[in-house]
Symmetry: C2
Subunit: 89 residues, 2 copies
DNA sequence: TGAGGTTACGCCTATCGTAATAATG
DNA sequence: CATTATTACGATAGGCGTAACCTCA
């Protein structure tokens, strides 16, 4: 699992389309498609249901989404906290 | 920032030595040394004070450590939650 | 057949390990 | 000089983009 995979996952979950997510992430479609697949393989669960119109979160995907957002927020907070502490050091 | 960097950082913080941390991580010393440096560069702060006997957390490092642990726990919980939800899907 | 997602394939960057180089007590 | 960290450098793996392919309404 990587932070990039988590970002890609959240983007697809919010957009409902790999293509649209890729555009927002400024990355090509296959990059997102592959990383979502890698993530699913590692977790041993399908995170999305593929429909002919796009991707919809599966129940496992919904479970993962909450955690995923928390992780990214944790990363942001960590960076902010360190940058803030710099002046105090 | 990557999850590997966070793992390396925590290991060094706990061991107090790059070498010992590397051994525990089953990776060579320079890999850890470099990633710690990359992390420090990205965060714009020194996370450790280098002594001739090893590495000691700086005040910025102490700030980061709490966040770092939380992030990794978040990752673990996320994976566990998805694996648990698999059977429920 | 059009609107999506995925697989194939070649390139390129990032990371690694070994070996060499500091630095410090 | 022993101990520990860092830098150099060549090799490799993982990620990306383009292009080709698949699937479903």
């Amino acid at each position: 699992m990587s932070l990039a995979q988590i970002r890609y996952f959240i983007a697809v979950a919010e957009e409902g389309h790999v293509g649209r997510a890729a555009h927002g992430l400024r990355v090509a479609q296959p990059a997102v498609s592959r990383q979502i697949k890698n993530l699913e393989d590692e977790l041993g669960a399908l995170l999305f249901v593929r429909t002919s119109r796009g991707m919809q979160l599966s129940s496992s995907g919904r479970v993962f989404l909450d955690h995923a957002r928390g992780i990214l927020q944790g990363v942001e907070h960590a960076a902010l906290a360190v940058r803030a502490s710099r002046s105090t050091s």
